[in-house]
């Protein structure tokens, strides 16, 4: 059973990754990142049960906290960028190059 959870986790992680890569709307990209984090959490929880240790759950808990903080800051940044550039596309913020 554990294997199934882990494969599901991997699958969700990969889908999230593809989403980050193909979507341009910064908010959607963010959602995909959240998806990847959730996939990780699933793996942690699964391993916690597999190994009979609560550590996995504790870490998943911390991941959630950090993810929440990250979302707050990330969305604030998006809003700021949107305010100045009128765009939420990640491709538009491409000045840091060459």
């Amino acid at each position: 059973m554990t294997t199934h959870y882990l494969v599901l986790s991997a699958l969700l992680f990969a889908i999230g990754g593809v989403g980050v890569l193909v979507r341009r709307n910064a908010i959607v990209v963010f959602m995909c990142v959240e998806l990847m984090l959730n996939a990780c959490n699933l793996a942690f929880v699964t391993f916690a049960r597999q190994n009979g240790s609560l550590d996995g759950q504790v870490i998943a808990f911390f991941v959630m906290i950090v993810a929440a903080a990250e979302v707050v800051i990330g969305l604030a940044i998006i809003v700021t960028i949107f305010r100045t550039r009128r765009s939420a596309s990640v491709d538009d913020a491409s000045l840091l190059k060459h």
Partner: protein, 286 residues
């Protein structure tokens, strides 16, 4: 057996929702799909002896985080939809290849690992899941916990700083605003009075009802443009309003044609150009 059924149902649901999240054009749909995935995962947590996390998942993620996403979406524009045309050459192809490759490799790797039966958490959660977790968090992981709390506060402050817009000039007074309104009236004939409210009748008290002018005609100014557009599509719009709207649209079109297109930055007033084209270092003679 019960777990198996739950897993398979939720696995299908969550994967489908995840794919929907990635491939739906509209950001709102994506957000909803994400909500579905999260709830599915919450259930899976619960199934895996993690009731506390399941609850937290629902409260924090589907509650707080998703709300935040939706708020931002509102702020940015609900109907802003991505064009799905890829602009970076090869990006989508390689992304999908990498994604599939990654999933396959990882899946194969995990699938090939011979695992013993899960030990289960019964041994470590004798006092119940929540008290055991609490014990862990407040003893072994107390330092990390404190640090995360600091992180959260910092994040909250950071968000405020980022979202806050510094006022560069003092807030206009009532007098100034009124003066400006009448000056605009003198110059362009723009109505200085407030817009009329929506029509209020015994049966209706909604914003889609136009206000009536003293002569009984409807006042187009009182009509919300978005609602009017919906009604125009549905065909339930008042013909008078439809005509006025059309005239307005025409005028706007003309104005747009004659006005030189200006970059967005200028309209926003942040007129200072970014000094990014200047070389940062004075290059010496080669």
């Amino acid at each position: 057996m019960g777990e198996s059924i739950t897993f398979w149902v939720l696995a299908v649901v969550s994967v489908t929702a995840a794919l929907g999240l990635v491939f739906s054009r509209r950001a709102v749909y994506s957000a909803l799909m994400l909500g579905v995935v999260m709830i599915s995962l919450a259930v899976l947590y619960a199934v895996q002896d993690a009731p506390f996390l399941a609850v937290v998942q629902i409260i924090v993620y589907t509650g707080a985080v998703m709300m935040l996403f939706l708020f931002v979406l509102m702020l940015v524009g609900v109907d802003s939809s991505d064009s799905l045309v890829e602009t970076i050459k090869g990006q989508r192809f390689w992304a999908i290849v990498a994604g599939i490759g990654f999933a396959v490799l990882l899946g194969l790797g995990i699938g090939n690992v011979l695992l013993t039966a899960p030990k289960g958490l019964a041994g470590v959660t004798a006092a119940g899941n929540v008290p055991s977790l609490a014990e862990q968090i407040f003893t072994r992981h107390v330092f990390a916990f404190e640090v995360t709390s600091a992180l959260l506060i910092t994040a909250a402050l950071g968000a405020m700083v980022l979202a806050h817009r510094e006022r560069t000039e003092s807030k206009p007074t009532q007098k100034q605003l009124s003066r400006a309104r009448f000056l605009a009236f003198g110059k362009t004939g723009k109505n200085p009075a407030p817009l009329p409210g929506p029509g209020t009748y015994a049966r209706h008290n909604s914003i889609d009802m136009p206000a009536l002018l003293p002569d009984g005609a409807v006042s187009p100014l009182s009509v919300n443009r978005i609602i009017a557009r919906h009604e125009a599509i549905e065909g339930t719009i008042d013909p008078e309003i439809a005509r006025i709207l059309q005239e307005e649209a025409l005028a706007e079109q003309q104005a747009a044609d004659t006005r030189p297109t200006k970059p967005l930055d200028d309209e926003l007033g942040d007129t200072e150009p970014l000094a990014d084209t200047e070389p940062l270092v004075e290059e010496d003679a080669k």
